[in-house]
């Protein structure tokens, strides 16, 4: 992207890309808001199983939540390293962030496969449809983030990620953290607060 933008006059003194990106994040709030709302209004309405209690694995997901939180820490450290021109640590933290993102996707792939084996497919019931769509959308965002971070890593190895390009990393970081906070919400409302009534035993 253009480095000239920073030198341009802007009425707020802010970088246009950052304003646009925050607008995009605002828009994403409504995207995930609608997905979460749908999940919640449909929770407990499935006419057949399996549902949350039988399927969701809290210990496993707690670990992947930890993983994603840690990646956010790596991300801020990466940005700080790029800003002060520290190429080595920029690469280390960027690589760590991407790696943790990939691990999260690995957890999700395992979780999805496991659920399918347990009998919960995409079309099995309302829970399956809403759960896979919501978490799938989130996973898709993580995937894009990992690709983005790897692109930055390559740019860094090409020597094209100096402090003057810090805005590129900052915006990738905003994206990454937003994906993280979405997971914070999903972890709570999907995994920890289960309103589905326990199946009658």
């Amino acid at each position: 992207m253009s480095h000239a933008a920073a030198a341009h006059y802007t009425s707020t003194g802010l970088d246009s890309r950052k304003i646009a990106f925050w607008t995009f994040i605002g828009s994403e709030c409504l995207l995930f808001g609608s997905l979460i709302a749908t999940y919640l209004v449909y929770e407990g309405r499935s006419v057949s199983g399996p549902t949350t209690h039988e399927i969701l694995n809290i210990p496993l997901t707690s670990v992947s939540t930890f993983d994603l939180l840690l990646s956010s820490l790596m991300m801020v450290l990466a940005l700080a390293a790029v800003q002060r021109g520290d190429r080595l640590w920029a690469r280390v933290w960027l690589a760590a962030t991407a790696l943790l993102g990939a691990i999260f996707l690995g957890f999700q792939a395992f979780e999805f496969t496991h659920f399918v084996h347990e009998g919960l497919g995409f079309t099995t019931n309302l829970f399956g449809s809403t759960f896979f769509t919501l978490t799938g959308f989130h996973g898709g965002h993580v995937f894009v983030g990992v690709v983005w971070l790897l692109t930055l890593l390559v740019r860094s190895f090409q020597g094209k990620l100096g402090p003057e390009k810090a805005m590129n990393v900052e915006i990738a970081g905003l994206y990454w953290h937003f994906v993280d906070v979405v997971w914070i919400v999903i972890f709570t409302v999907v995994y920890l607060i289960q309103t589905t009534p326990l199946p009658a035993s």
Binding site: Y9, S11, T12, G13, L14, K18, I19, W22, T23, I25, G26, S27, C29, L30, F32, G33, S34, I36, A37, L40, V41, E43, I58, S62, T65, F66, L69, L70, S72, L73, M75, V76, L77, A80, Q83, G173, L174, H177, F178, D180, V181, I184, V185, F187, T188, V189, L192, I193, T195
Partner: protein, 104 residues
Amino acid sequence: MAEHSEPQEHQGSAHPTAATYVAIFAVLLIITIVEVGVFYVPAFHGFLAPILLTLSALKFTLVVMFYMHLKFDHPLFRTIFTLPLLIAAAVIIALLFLYGVFRL
């Protein structure tokens, strides 16, 4: 370019240091452990939702304020993020009411 009064960038001293970032992470981690802990303690089950929602909102705020720098950045960013966020929250709450998940 001299006539606009807002500061150009807030980078530098205003930004939190690596130590702050690590400290925030520690807090996030502790909250997460508490959340999972609460989930497993039967005594809390009567009011699980309010506890967990509060804790999760706290985590959300910490990440947005510190990792996304909203606390230190230009107030414009706060406006263009918060307004849609509030709309999204209102939509979720309204739909939960309309579907009778919440009742007055």
